[in-house]
Each structure stands twice: as structure tokens, then as C-alpha cells.
């Protein structure tokens, strides 16, 4: 597996991963913009409307037909949050040329279709088609509203929104419902022009083709981007201290099981030297099935159906998420904190340390075996301006000492507790 990173033009980059492991090749193109309350919904809506039709393929049916001709390839809107950067664009998967029925090439026409989606939208009167805009705005609003359906994830979104209310990270990747409601075709068109002119652009390929061929295939995308103006530089999210007394938020919905989500400040993120130690501590604490939260809070005490922790790699935040009976929430919270205290005082066995290390290393190495995870990994790194591959990060995790892990644990401070309970 060979990874090549090339700057094609100032602010326009390509990450090309060459490998013959997969049956498919993966293509991506994303605009990277700072995550803001004012623009998040607009940016999120851009790829959704672009995906409705191009100048050459003006509707979904003809776009799908074009994709079917490319062996059922996909090109789906992407809206992701990497730290405090919003990434919007397209990502898709196509059959690798080796497996086509008549040996025909797929990469070049697929990249051409990607360029079409990104650069040559179907327009009416010089802007987005009002019908498409209205419909996709409706879909965006529905998606934002539907976040409440998955209560486990909803609790996590809510704790982040409460905890980081004064930081860009508190903005959801889809933006807010209120902001989405204000969008019309003209406003959206202006935002699209802004992205075209000034957003950083990240292109991605993973498949059997050599980087030179990939670069040539992407030429229609690169050539179609405006040359004037300067593309925005990347910003590293600021760190913040937890309040002296943790914030507490409770909400009621019609649920039979409570959801407890706890947000911690980590004082470290992917840019920091201690990040591998933090990743290891997260695994010891709640990131695996050998973790303290899983073995104690869930298995030994049966306080929760699930209890796990997760890191926001590009922001100084760790979340603990659990499902708990309403009347056991106090007990569960106490136990979750007491398990953290054990990590902070070095009260974990060498076995626990090594199990956690094996799990983190294995997760990183298997990223190399899964095209979509690899794409997401490299997009995150690109949005952060980092170049370390998953195998290199794994090698650093191998070197973390017990003392470093304990030190990373001692930096974890509870910031916000969110509890979703049933109606009285």
C-alpha cells in the first residue's frame, strides 16, 4: 500500500492510496470550511442539492443510470465534522477495473462524473433549481429533526451541544433547523460559489491505479475550480478548561430507558504528542469489551445496558455514553466516575493495559483493510493538516508507557452531564 499526498494547486490536495487489495476503488472530493453556526446548514445542503442533477444529467434517474453503467458505482453526498472543520462533498465506490465484464476502465469516467456533480450543477436562471433546493432543504430539516429518533446518539449530540455551546465544536455537522429554514436557492448558490472559490479542496483515491493516472483522472475536477482568490487555511480548535463545577442538563422524552451522556475535557487532541497515551487510556477506561466501564458498570454491576467511552480525535473532548434505568442513574454516574479515578491513580493491571493496547493497535491496523474507514481516516488527517498514517500512529501507541497513560488520564476532567429521562 503506497500513500501519495500531492498539492495540485494552492489549497487543492490529493491523497492517493495505491493497493490491489480491494475489489473496488474509492473516490472522494470535499470542500473544507470552518464549522460555524451561520454556515453549517448551508454547507451541508450544498452536496445534497448538487446530487440532484447536473447539466448533463439533470435528474436523479439519469444520474442513477450513469452510475449503473459504471457497475453500480456510488457517489453520495458527504457531510462530516472533523474537529471544527466541516467537510462537504462527495465520496463514492466503484468496481475496480480488474473485475469489469469487458475489461473497460471505470476510474476515468467515474472521476469525470464526480467533476460533473461538483462543478456543473443543474441550474435554472443562473442559480440552483428552486424545486431541488426546496425539497432538499425539507430533507435536511427532516434529518435534523430525526436525530431525536436514535436516543443513544441523540444524547451524545446533546451533551456536545451543551458542553461546547461557546465553541464551533458545539455546532452540529448538519447545522440547526432554524438556519436550514432560512435557506433559499439564491442564498445557497452564493454559498456554493464561496466554497468553490475559497474552501480548501481535498481529493481522495484508493484503488489499483498509480498516482500519475489518478492525478490525470482528477484533472476535470481541478481544472474546473476557479483559480482566482485564496483558499482558506486550516484552523486547529482551541482547548478549553472544564468549569469548576460540572454543568448538568436533564431532558424528558418518551423513553423507557434513560440515556446518560457525560462530556470530559481531555487537554489533548490529535496534534499533541500525548495523543497516543490518551487513545490508550480511553481504551482502558471505556473503549473496548475489556474496559473498566464494560466490565464493571455493565457486566459486574449490571447498572447499564451499555457503557462506553469515545474520543473526539480532533478536539479536546471525550464522551461517555450509557443506557441506564431512571432510578439507577445516580449510582451509574458514581460508578463511571470511580472507574475513571482508577485510571487516574494507575489502578489498572498490566493485562488491562496490554488488552487495551492490542485493541487500539488492531483497530488502527485494520483501518488499512477497510476502504471506507481508510478514506475517513485520511480525510480527518487532511482536515487537520496531519500526515501520519494509521500504521504510524499504531507504532506510537506501542511505545506508550504506563506512566504516560496515567498522566493522560489525570488530564481528564468532567465538564458536562446530560441525562435523558422519561416523562413523569
Amino acid at each position: 500500500m503506497k500513500v501519495t499526498q500531492i498539492t495540485l494547486r494552492p489549497g487543492v490536495h490529493l491523497t492517493a492510496v495505491q493497493t490491489r487489495k480491494f475489489k473496488s476503488s474509492m473516490l472522494g472530493a470535499a470542500f473544507l470550511a470552518p464549522l460555524t453556526e451561520g454556515e453549517a446548514a448551508l454547507n451541508a445542503l450544498v452536496p445534497m442539492v448538487l446530487r440532484r442533477g447536473t447539466a448533463e444529467h439533470p435528474d436523479l434517474e439519469s444520474l442513477s443510470a450513469a452510475l449503473d453503467e459504471l457497475y453500480g458505482g456510488t457517489l453520495e453526498p458527504m457531510v462530516r465534522k472533523k474537529g471544527e472543520t466541516q467537510c462537504v462533498g462527495f465520496v463514492g465506490s466503484f468496481l475496480d477495473d480488474a473485475y469489469t465484464l469487458a475489461g473497460e476502465r471505470v476510474l476515468e469516467p467515474a472521476a469525470e462524473l464526480l467533476a460533473e456533480l461538483l462543478l456543473r450543477p443543474y441550474t435554472q436562471d443562473g442559480a440552483f433549481c428552486p424545486d431541488y433546493t426546496r425539497q432538499e432543504r425539507g430533507n435536511l430539516i427532516d434529518r435534523i429533526k430525526a436525530q431525536v429518533n436514535d436516543k443513544r446518539q441523540y444524547a451524545q449530540l446533546r451533551v456536545v451541544a451543551e458542553m461546547c455551546g461557546e465553541e464551533p465544536f458545539g455546532v452540529d455537522r448538519l447545522g440547526s433547523e432554524a438556519a436550514a429554514r432560512d435557506i433559499d436557492a439564491a442564498l445557497l448558490w452564493a454559498q456554493y460559489q464561496k466554497l468553490l472559490r475559497s474552501a480548501r479542496v481535498e481529493l481522495y483515491y484508493c484503488g489499483s491505479a498509480a498516482p500519475e493516472r489518478v492525478q490525470a483522472a482528477f484533472a476535470p475536477v481541478v481544472e474546473g475550480l476557479p483559480r482566482e482568490g485564496e483558499r482558506m487555511a486550516l484552523v486547529r480548535p482551541a482547548k478549553r478548561a472544564a468549569p469548576r463545577k460540572p454543568r448538568r442538563v436533564e431532558e424528558q422524552l418518551d423513553v423507557t430507558q434513560g440515556k446518560l451522556a457525560m462530556g470530559f475535557r481531555t487537554n489533548a487532541d490529535a496534534w499533541d504528542g500525548q495523543y497516543p497515551a490518551l487513545a490508550l487510556v480511553n481504551a482502558i477506561y471505556g473503549g473496548t469489551t475489556t474496559s473498566k466501564l464494560f466490565l464493571n458498570v455493565r457486566e459486574r454491576l449490571s447498572l447499564c445496558y451499555y457503557a462506553s467511552s469515545g474520543l473526539m480525535k480532533y478536539k479536546d473532548v471525550m464522551l461517555v455514553s450509557s443506557g441506564v434505568e431512571f432510578d439507577k442513574v445516580g449510582q451509574a454516574e458514581g460508578e463511571i466516575l470511580s472507574q475513571l479515578y482508577k485510571c487516574q491513580t494507575g489502578d489498572f493491571s498490566d493485562d488491562e493495559l496490554e488488552w487495551a493496547r492490542r485493541s487500539v493497535v488492531s483497530t488502527l491496523l485494520t483501518t488499512l483493510d477497510a476502504q471506507s474507514r481508510l478514506e475517513d481516516y485520511w480525510l480527518g488527517q487532511a482536515a487537520a493538516g496531519l500526515t501520519e498514517g494509521p500504521d504510524q500512529l499504531a507504532a506510537r501507541v506501542e511505545q506508550v508507557t504506563r506512566e504516560e497513560a496515567v498522566a493522560a488520564a489525570q488530564d481528564l476532567i468532567l465538564d458536562t452531564v446530560y441525562f435523558l429521562k422519561g416523562r413523569d
Binding site: 490491489r20 475489489k23 453503467e69 431525536v148 429518533n149 436516543k151 449490571s302
Partner: protein
């Protein structure tokens, strides 16, 4: 050991039948960090009534799933921890038809394989551990009861089926699992977890001969008795009821629309039916069909719309669902499109594209070791080699697909389940 090449897919599969009746399949994949092993029994949520040693037994709903949870317990502790300690990511699932245990690991593959084969084949249940699990699974059932997607799926099953056990939730209910004892678990383990009723599938850069050697070392040498199952007799071809509605706290109505299809036999027929059903889905309401574009354009469906063809022993269905302001309109439009296709036939250009698209998606699916191992196992239980799908696929004609749509997509075979927004249940 037989090795078989599938040049169209660029794959080689090693196959061996052990003395105890277990089939072992290894899809050798070079250059991958991870390896994947899947050990499955032909026993799922719907196998509630069966004949063991001559006598018919009725078991409560949820035993297969309960067993899956309890199998990880060993006399010395918990296999989940043993596997995780070796850096493996273990898990298990219970579907209506099968129960599968698997792990993925980047190191110590054969140590992990020993653990997997050993904990799945050696039961260890105590009344205390069964009691405790009732609490954990009870919580899981309650969580699922809060999940509208799940509720709407079972509502559809109740619409379509009169008595086939596919309509019973796999995890059971609070009441049914309360009736499960250590004795129930031992009896069901004995009946269904015998090597001849199981399959081991592996994908990764591992030596197939060593996989078989480890299986011989760990598993019992003898096979158990064949098992008869009873799904309550043949179902009528019509849906049991046309509609079912629930109320939950959701933002927009969620629906599942289903058509009861003819069940398929085993072997080549199973694979062919499953591929034909998939193509019928794509032609009728797939993302490149005219109906999909119309429904999407009218705002009746959104990106969450999903569809598929499902084949189980004794039943089959074509289902589609997602969010919609007006699920009945979606149903009526699908029925009308089915009638049109039955009358006018399938557009040959559309058929050609959809076939190419499905083919590409199927080949791309082989990237996932989990997918490959599960498909190899399910195809084995159905009596067919999964990797023969390209040839089977080639042979399907537009009239095969039209015939399916003509007989399945009709009002009599149709069920619609809807979860509507609201606070009361």
C-alpha cells in the same frame, strides 16, 4: 481438502468436510492485516419448535438469542475477554435463521480460533448466570421497544404472516425469556450446536490446512442427530392483514411496506430466487427506477428509503421502507408501478443497467470479510456455493423478473406498517 477457483471474482476457496460433519470454508486473502472467522449454527429466532430424540419440543421465543449471550460464559470466565485480550474483536448475532459467532484479529489468529471453537461448542450455564442474563436481555428488549425502526419491522411481519415464526421478535419478550432456564439452554445447545448443523467460514491470509487441524483438535469427533423443525405449516400466499399502525415519539412517520413472496427451495433455486428478488426490487423501486425518482421528486420518500429482498426457510419477502409524510401514497404508487410492469414489461435498457449495477455492487461487497463469511455460511446452509453468483446472475432474464413482480406485487400480498408521531403508545 478441495480448492476451488472463481476467476471472475479473483478468489480461491478451500473446502473440507470434517469427520464430525462440519464443513470448513477458507477464502484465502493475501496482503490483509486482519483475518476473520465465523462459526455459525443453522439455528435462529424462528426455530422454536423442533424434534429432539424423537420427541417434539416447544421452546419460548428468544432462546437462540439467549444462548448466543450465554455461550460466551466459560467455566473459567468469559470468552469475550479472552478474545479481546488477544486483540481480537469478537461479536455474535442471532438472526431469524442462524446464530453466528465471529472474531476479527490482526494477530494470534489460531489462538483466537481455538477460543472461538471452544466456547461455542462447550456450554456452561448456571441458574445464577441465567438469572442475571434475564436482566441484561430484559434491558435489551426494552431498548429495542424504544426503537421505531425495529417496531415497524415487526409490525410489518405481523401484517404479512399469520403464524410463521419470522413474526416473533428474535430476542423474545420479557415474558418469554422469563421462562428460559439453564435446562432449556442445554437442550437447545445439544440439538442445534452439533458440528453437522454448523459451518466454519474463514477469510484472510491464513493456512487452510491449519484451520482444519485446529477444528479437529477442538471440536467433538462425533456428529449429533439431524433435527426436524416445525414452522407451523405452510403460510397462505396472501398477507394476514393489510395495515398496522403504532404511535411513538418520532419526528415523521416511519413505514415498512412489504410483499409476501413465494418461498424458495434449497440449492441453485435458493441463490437464483434471491438474485431474481433483488433485481425485481431494483426494477420496481430501486434508486434508478422511474418510480423512485417520482416518489423522491414528490417528497414522498427521502434518502432514508431502503429496500431489499429477504429469503428465509419457509418464507420470503420484498420490503421497502423509510420515512414518509404519506406512507399509504407510497404503497399505492408501488402497487400501481407493479401493475404497470406486469402489463408493459421491464424496459430492456433499465434492466441492463440495473443488472450491471447489482453485479458491481455484489463484487464490491466481497471487500468485507464479514460479508463474505456470512454469505458463504448462509449459502452453505441453503445448499449452494455463494461464489457461483456471477454465472447464476448472467442467466436471469427480464421475463424472470417480470414474473416475480406480476405474482408478488399485488394488493392481496401487500402489508403496510406505520409508526406515527405522538407521545402515547
Amino acid at each position: 481438502m478441495v480448492s476451488k477457483q472463481y476467476p471472475r471474482l479473483g478468489e480461491t476457496v478451500f473446502h473440507e468436510i470434517l469427520e464430525n460433519g462440519l464443513h470448513v470454508y477458507v477464502d484465502r486473502r493475501r496482503d490483509f492485516q486482519k483475518s476473520y472467522a465465523f462459526f455459525a449454527t443453522n439455528y435462529g429466532g424462528m426455530d422454536m419448535r423442533f424434534r429432539l430424540e424423537g420427541a417434539w419440543k416447544n421452546t419460548p421465543a428468544g432462546v437462540a438469542h439467549f444462548l448466543e449471550h450465554k455461550m460466551f460464559d466459560t467455566q473459567d470466565g468469559n470468552a469475550l475477554q479472552d478474545l479481546a485480550a488477544n486483540g481480537a474483536s469478537p461479536n455474535a448475532f442471532t438472526s431469524s435463521a442462524i446464530t453466528g459467532y465471529f472474531f476479527e484479529s490482526t494477530e494470534k489468529f489460531f489462538d483466537n480460533l481455538r477460543i472461538l471453537l471452544s466456547f461455542v461448542s462447550i456450554p456452561w450455564f448456571t441458574p445464577e448466570s441465567v438469572d442475571k442474563e434475564q436482566g441484561i436481555i430484559g434491558q435489551e428488549i426494552r431498548m429495542v421497544e424504544d426503537d421505531p425502526e425495529n417496531q415497524v419491522f415487526y409490525a410489518l411481519m405481523e401484517c404479512l404472516y399469520d403464524h410463521h415464526p419470522i413474526r416473533v421478535p428474535i430476542a423474545g419478550t420479557q415474558q418469554s425469556i422469563a421462562r428460559i432456564t439453564a435446562g432449556t439452554l442445554y437442550a437447545c445447545h445439544k440439538a442445534f450446536y452439533n458440528p453437522a448443523n454448523m459451518v466454519l467460514t474463514v477469510a484472510g491470509d491464513v493456512d487452510p490446512a491449519q484451520v482444519c487441524a485446529v477444528a479437529r483438535e477442538i471440536l467433538p469427533g462425533q456428529s449429533g442427530q439431524p433435527i426436524d423443525r416445525d414452522y407451523g405449516g405452510e403460510e397462505a400466499l396472501e398477507a394476514a392483514q393489510g395495515e398496522k399502525e403504532l404511535t411513538m415519539e418520532v419526528s415523521t412517520p416511519i413505514f415498512q411496506l412489504g410483499f409476501k413472496c413465494d418461498p424458495a427451495g434449497t440449492g441453485a433455486e435458493w441463490l437464483r430466487r434471491s438474485l431474481t428478488g433483488e433485481l425485481a426490487c431494483e426494477v420496481l423501486l430501486g434508486s434508478s427506477s422511474p418510480l423512485y425518482a417520482r416518489l423522491y421528486g414528490e417528497g414522498l420518500i427521502n434518502k432514508n428509503f431502503g429496500y431489499g429482498f429477504e429469503l428465509y426457510p419457509g418464507c420470503a419477502l420484498l420490503a421497502a421502507g423509510g420515512e414518509s409524510r404519506d406512507p399509504r401514497k407510497v404503497r399505492d404508487a408501488v402497487l400501481a408501478e407493479g401493475e404497470r410492469l406486469a402489463r408493459e414489461g421491464v424496459d430492456p435498457a433499465l434492466f441492463g443497467r440495473v443488472k450491471k449495477g447489482c453485479y458491481g455492487a455484489k463484487v464490491r461487497g466481497l471487500n468485507s470479510f464479514e460479508h463474505v463469511c456470512i454469505e458463504l455460511a448462509q449459502a452453505h446452509f441453503a445448499g449452494v456455493e455463494y461464489f457461483t453468483f456471477p454465472e447464476t446472475f448472467d442467466a436471469i432474464t427480464p421475463s424472470d423478473v417480470e414474473e416475480c413482480i406480476r405474482s408478488w406485487v399485488t394488493p392481496r400480498r401487500c402489508g403496510l406498517a406505520v409508526v406515527r408521531p405522538g407521545e402515547e403508545r
